[in-house]
């Protein structure tokens, strides 16, 4: 059976992370499962967790008035769900729903925030990694907004 320590150390998001930091992360981590169709997080709720997706698929949704929710992206194996735990006001900005049965490692954001405050080297490592994810998703969102396949462009 895979230990949390090994799962975290081998996850691409934490690739190259100092072993001591991995141990700190493990103390804030737990395994979680979500049934297909269930909501993992909801817009406006307190954001105190983030997830490393290990199996399954998650849809990030925006609520639209008089419409069904709009899926803006999906996240699969090896991806990170949620960064609102890192920045005030620590509230989710979107809904996230398990499209299929999904397994993940949940990391306690409150626990991690306090560890990052105590150890700024850890804080910097975490911020660098999240900044890269944010940059990739911002670029993808810009490309998505260009609507390149539309005839009307």
């Amino acid at each position: 059976m895979e230990t949390l320590e090994r799962i975290i150390a081998e996850h691409p998001f934490f690739s190259g992370l100092d072993y001591g930091f991995v141990n700190l992360m493990v103390s804030c981590a737990s395994n979680v499962r979500f049934k297909g169709g269930s909501y993992i997080l909801k817009e406006g709720d307190p954001a105190n967790t983030f997830y490393l997706v290990r199996a399954g698929k998650v849809a990030v949704e925006v609520l639209a008035p008089q419409h069904k929710p709009i899926i803006v992206s999906t996240l699969g194996v090896g991806e990170i769900l949620g960064w609102s735990w890192l920045l005030p006001p620590f509230q989710w900005k979107f809904h996230a729903r398990a499209v299929e049965d999904t397994r993940a490692v949940a990391l306690d954001g409150k626990c991690l925030r306090s560890k990052c405050e105590e150890n700024h080297d850890l804080g910097y490592e975490i911020l660098k990694r999240f900044a890269q994810i944010m940059e990739q998703r911002l670029e993808a969102t810009r490309l998505q907004l260009l609507d390149v396949y539309s005839v009307k462009r």
Binding site: I70, I71, T74, E79, E139, Y149, R153
Partner: protein, 280 residues
């Protein structure tokens, strides 16, 4: 080029529409057969023909059918203007003039013995479909086949049944994504570049062939380069307003190149400086 070959290339051959199949609400696949009943023309995957809708106009359209199917030519056309609308409105038995095939093909010889990465956006899958047929028809000559396909929405996906059947082939990985997905869509949502992380590419032994809107191709080529593919192992298909199709008229000039004659398929390395030029 001699005067004889010029006349030949500028003269349309009469073809008849065998069938018109609806792919999406605005995109149709036309199958044409020579009016004479003789065999059709051999072509290289990636080449295009000039299709003449009598009384309306002539259009450059990539060939999207089987390269080894001799009795017909297949084209997938998106109806976006008067001429394309007239083309897709043809009925079985109607006449169409065909010139070609023209242009350079995808690097299927260079890709032999290596993994083939196909990255398509929107109708860009059509010019790449003959490569997929070729690789699947000569399976032992190629490594892994990876098809990454992005579309605007689920209803805009081309060749849905074929995508599923390709995914079942050995050593073939097909991933599809849409920019906008409804709640009933259970596949990926996001731009085509977001699929790379699921594809387990082996950049050092791969050749990539990319076709789609120019912005998308630029983003894809940049991402492939970041993943470790050499620029001269990435090929893109360009589109400009083509008229003569043989490099005489200059309509499709792109920097020092004529897209119709020197392309439409180019190594990314060759076009990169032009792709980054303002308003070119």
């Amino acid at each position: 080029m001699t005067i004889t070959t010029t006349i030949e290339t500028m003269t349309s051959q009469p073809y008849l529409v065998r069938s018109v199949d609806k792919e999406t609400p605005d995109t149709f696949t036309l199958t044409l057969k020579p009016e004479s009943g003789a065999n059709g023309t051999l072509f290289q995957p990636g080449q295009f023909s000039m299709l003449w809708v009598f009384g309306v106009g002539e259009l450059p359209i990539s060939i999207s059918g089987q390269p080894f199917q001799m009795d017909c030519l297949v084209y997938t056309v998106r109806s976006v203007g008067q001429a394309t609308h007239a083309l897709v409105s043809r009925k079985a038995g109607d006449g169409i003039g065909v010139r070609g095939p023209f242009g350079t093909g995808w690097p299927i010889d260079k890709a032999r013995g290596r993994d083939v990465i196909i990255v398509a956006g929107g109708i860009g899958l059509a010019p790449l479909r003959p490569v997929i047929y070729h690789v699947l028809g000569n399976r032992k000559q190629y490594g892994r086949l990876v098809v990454l396909y992005g579309s605007r929405s689920p209803r805009d996906l081309l060749y849905r049944k074929e995508l599923s059947s390709w995914a079942r082939q050995p050593d073939t990985h097909v991933l599809v994504t849409v920019d906008y997905g409804g709640l009933s869509w259970r596949g990926h949502v996001g731009v085509v570049t977001t699929l790379f992380k699921y594809a387990r590419l082996q950049p050092e032994k791969s050749v990539a062939m990319v076709c789609g809107p120019e912005i998308m191709m630029r983003f894809v080529a940049r991402e492939l380069e970041m993943l470790g593919l050499k620029r001269d192992d990435v090929y893109i298909s360009m589109e400009r307003n083509m008229k003569c199709a043989v490099g005489f008229c200059g309509h499709c000039q792109y920097g020092p190149h004529f897209i119709c004659k020197d392309g439409p398929i180019f190594p990314y390395e060759q076009l990169r400086p032009l792709l980054e030029k303002y308003e070119l």
